[in-house]
Amino acid sequence: MNYGIVSQEQLEQIDTILSDKLIKLGVDCVIIIDMAGNIITARDNGESKYDVYSFAALAAGNFATVDAMAKLVGEQEFSLLFHKGQESNIHFSKIDDELLLISMFGREISLGFLRLNVVDVIEKIRKVWGSK
């Protein structure tokens, strides 16, 4: 898979999946990044004003650190990460070895419900990548 360049069609399909499955659900912002900290795509509900570029750099660093920790305790990987706050939460999930899906959401969505949907979204995105 060459993730360096994605066709316009693929990106549009992915954007539609993210909007339909996560933003409509009430997720504030969804970002797909690669492990180098580049943004593949970002969708939001039109209200959130996150600095997505800095976010991507930090998230890639964060995930890489946790990955290294997993290896230290003999795990292959920790494929998902979750940070809980007062008002907002962040959920990280690995799509494949190169890509990460990050969802930022508030108190109105339960973690379990989000996770169910994220699993579904990841499966759909993998299909889109595979279609090249």
């Binding site: 993730y3 360096g4 360049i5 994605v6 066709s7 316009q8 990106l11 549009e12 690669d34 492990m35 180098a36 900290g37 580049n38 943004i39 593949i40 795509t41 600095d51 570029y53 800095s54 750099a57 930090l58 890639a60 660093g61 890489a64 650190t65 290294a68």
Partner: protein, 201 residues
């Protein structure tokens, strides 16, 4: 590896400042951040220890304008320079497009520069990249210390130590005063963009 978004016409380029501890990597980014404030939309992110040393990395994104209709987003990173943080340095190098190696021109730092450059070579190999192929610029920092009577290495010695095989562009610089900071940055951006173009054609 740069990421090219054909839909939004955006190219993201990752440039890493690498070098031994206290050589001035973060100072380079701070100078760029101050001087080009207008082009920089977001805040510089610094993950550092209480002692003001870089713990993970510094991150500074800025827009360079358009090339052939594509928005070029430059993302500058530094690595932590301290010897013990090599695992973190490796993480920051993931997907790098261009490197500025900042060497400390102080005479007493001579061996540290060489060791750091060797480690860069090894770290790149772990990503199947080669120091001989990746866009690279050397910066001999702290030349201003000469005026304060601190012994610094002549450029000929630094060239022999670090650049005799690489033969890449180099600049004498002073990150604290800003001397040649922009020149270094312009050079690495142009080499990196040319290299990405070549890969695509």
């Amino acid at each position: 590896m740069s990421f090219i978004n054909l839909k939004d016409k955006v190219v993201q380029v990752k440039i890493v400042y690498y070098g031994p501890g206290r050589c001035g990597k973060t100072t380079n980014l701070e100078y760029v951040n101050r001087t080009y404030k207008k082009q920089i939309v977001s805040e510089m992110v610094s993950l550092k220890t209480h002692g003001d040393r870089t713990l993970f990395f510094d991150f500074l994104p800025f827009d360079m304008g358009k090339i052939k209709g594509y928005d070029i987003k430059i993302q500058l990173y530094t690595v932590p320079g301290q010897v013990k943080y090599n695992a973190t340095r490796k993480l920051v190098l993931r997907g790098v497009d261009g490197i500025v190696f900042v060497a400390d021109a102080m005479a007493k730092q001579r061996s540290k520069n060489i060791r750091s450059l060797n480690q860069l070579h090894e770290n790149l190999q772990s990503y199947k990249e080669s120091i001989f192929n990746i866009p690279l610029v050397l910066q001999y920092n702290k030349v201003d210390l000469k005026e304060h009577g601190i012994p610094i290495l002549p450029t000929s010695v630094l060239e022999k130590d670090l650049n005799s095989r690489l033969k890449v562009p180099y600049y004498e610089a002073s990150a604290i005063t800003g001397y040649n900071v922009a020149a270094t940055l312009k050079k690495i951006i142009s080499s990196t963009v040319v290299s990405i173009q070549k890969k695509l054609l």
